[in-house]
C-alpha cells in the first residue's frame, strides 16, 4: 500500500508535517513498515482540500486532527 502525503506549500501550511509525523508513528506502532510505504510529494493539485493524501491513488483530505482516524479507517483496516 502506498500512502502519499502532500508536503507542498499549501498543505504544509495546513499541517502536513503533523500528518506525516502521526502516520509515521502509527505505522511504526502497528508494525506496518513492510506493508505501508509512506511517501511525500509537492502538490497533488487539490490545494483547497489539503492536507492532500492519496492511498494507492485514491484521494483523501486529512488534517492533523483527523490523521489518527484516517489511519484507522483507511490504512490499518485495509493493510
Amino acid at each position: 500500500m502506498k500512502v502519499t502525503i502532500c508536503i507542498g506549500s499549501s498543505c504544509h501550511l495546513k499541517g502536513s508535517r503533523q500528518v506525516v509525523e502521526t502516520l509515521q508513528r502509527l505505522v511504526a506502532e502497528n508494525k506496518l513498515e513492510d506493508k505501508v510505504e509512506l511517501a511525500g510529494t509537492f502538490c497533488i493539485g487539490n490545494c483547497q482540500q489539503g492536507v492532500c493524501v492519496t492511498v494507492d491513488g485514491e484521494f483523501f483530505s486529512v488534517s492533523p486532527e483527523t490523521a489518527t482516524e484516517f489511519f484507522n479507517t483507511q490504512i490499518l483496516a485495509k493493510a
Binding site: 507542498g8 511525500g40 509537492f42
Partner: protein, 480 residues
Amino acid sequence: MDKFKTRKFDTKVQHLKYKVLREVARHAWDDTLYDRILDIPAMISPGKTPTMRCCVYKERAILTERVKLAMGGDRENPNVIEVIDIACDECPAAGYEVTDSCRGCLAHRCEDVCKRGAITFDQNHVAHIDKSKCVECGQCAKVCPFSAIANRKRPCQNACKVKAISINTNNAASIDNSKCISCGACVYQCPWGAIADKSFILDVVSLLKNSDYGKNYKVYAVVAPSISSQFTYAKLGQVITGLKELGFHTVVEAALGADIVALDESKELIEKGFLTSSCCPAFVMYIQKNFPDLVPFISHNPSPMTAISKYIKKNEPDAKIVFIGPCTAKKMEFQLDSVKPYVDSVITFEELQALFDSKGVDITELDEGVLDNASYYGRIFARCGGLSDAVSQAIKEQGIENFLLKAFSCDGIEECRTALLKKSKNVLDVNFIEGMACVGGCIGGAGCLTHGEKNKAEVDKYGREALEKTIKDAVSVLNI
C-alpha cells in the same frame, strides 16, 4: 505607452535585454520564432533615429547578437558569459591619467607621493604621468586636492575581481574562460550591455509547452530565496500564482534544499574539521581554478538547488525541474555531470520577468498563492552570513556541544580570495569558510531585477515568516 516600462529594473541595459528575451519567448510560445526572428531587432529599435548607438543599423546588429544570446548563445563556447564584440564600446583603459582639472598648483603632492618618480610637469606646471614608470597604485589620485587624476579603467575589468577580462587586438573586452567563474559581475556592470549571460529561456518554454500543464509530465519551479527581494511591484504570492499560470506544476523553495544542506554540511564539518561551502557555484569554481590545494576541503554536499531537485526526482523520476534564481553561475552548475540528472534548466529573475510578459501574465492582477517549505535558516542563505548562521543552528539542533564553530563569511569574491589565501598559508583561524562570490550574497546576483539596500532586510523578513522555525522540523517531512 509601453506598459513594461513600469517594470522595475536597475538599469536600461537590463530593460533592453529583457525586451529581447520577452520577444524571443513570445514568438516561441506562438511557434512563430523562426518566421519572425529577423524582425525582432527592428521591432525593438524601429524607425530611423537611433536611441542608443550611432545609427539604427548598428543598434539592430547588436540586437541580432542579443537575440542569439537569448536563444542560447554560442554553442562552441562552454562559458555562459559572453562578450558581444560589436557592442563593446572600447572604453578607455589607460589607467591613471591627469585630467584637465589639474590647475598646475604649487604643492605638487602628486609628485611627492609617487614612489616611482612617474609625475612630471610641463611649462604650465600641469602634471603628467609617465606611463613607463607608473604602476597604477593610485596614490597621486588620492592626494590631489582637485581630484584631477582619474583612473580610466574599463567597468568590466573593474567589476571582474578574478581578472578574467583583458582587451583583445580589436580593442574589445575578452573573457579568459580559464579564469572566469561566471559570476556575472561584468554583465551587470558593463554600461553598454556588451557582456551578457546566455539564456536557456527557450528550453524552459519548450519544457512547459510539451508538459501541457502537467498532462505529459510535471515541471517544477525551484525558486531561490532571494526572490523575496525581487518583483517588488507585486506580492510574492502573486509571483507563485504567475509561475503556475505559465504552466509550472508547483513551486518549491530552494531554501528547503538549503535546510538539507545546512544539516548535512554541519555533520561533514564536524567529521572533517575544516570545510569551505559548496552552495555558491562561482566560489566553488574559484577554488578549483585558483586554490587546488584547498579542493579537498570543498564540502561534498550538493548545492541547495541540487539537493531539493534530487529529492523531487527521487519521488518523481519523470518530473522536470527549472531553477529560477539571481545567479548566472547556476547556469554553469546545472550543466555539471553531477547536477545534470537533477536540474533540467536554469533561468534568472530577469528572464522570469520576460517569461511572464511574453505570455501576457500580469502578476499584479493575480490572487496570492503560497510558498512555504523551508525554515528561517534555509531562507537566509540568500544573504551573506546566512549559511554560517544555519550551520551554527544545525550544530545546536543536533545537540553537539564539543565542537566550536569558527565561521568566516566572505562577502564577495575579493573577500573569498583573501580568506582562501590566508587559509592556504595557515594563518586564518577558522574552520568554516562561507564563500559568496557576489557582494551581499545571492541578493547581489547578476540576474536580479533590482539590487537594493533593503534587499537583505527583505530576505530576513521572509525568513521570519517561515512556518517552520527549526531546520530539523523543515527537513523532517522529507524523511518519510
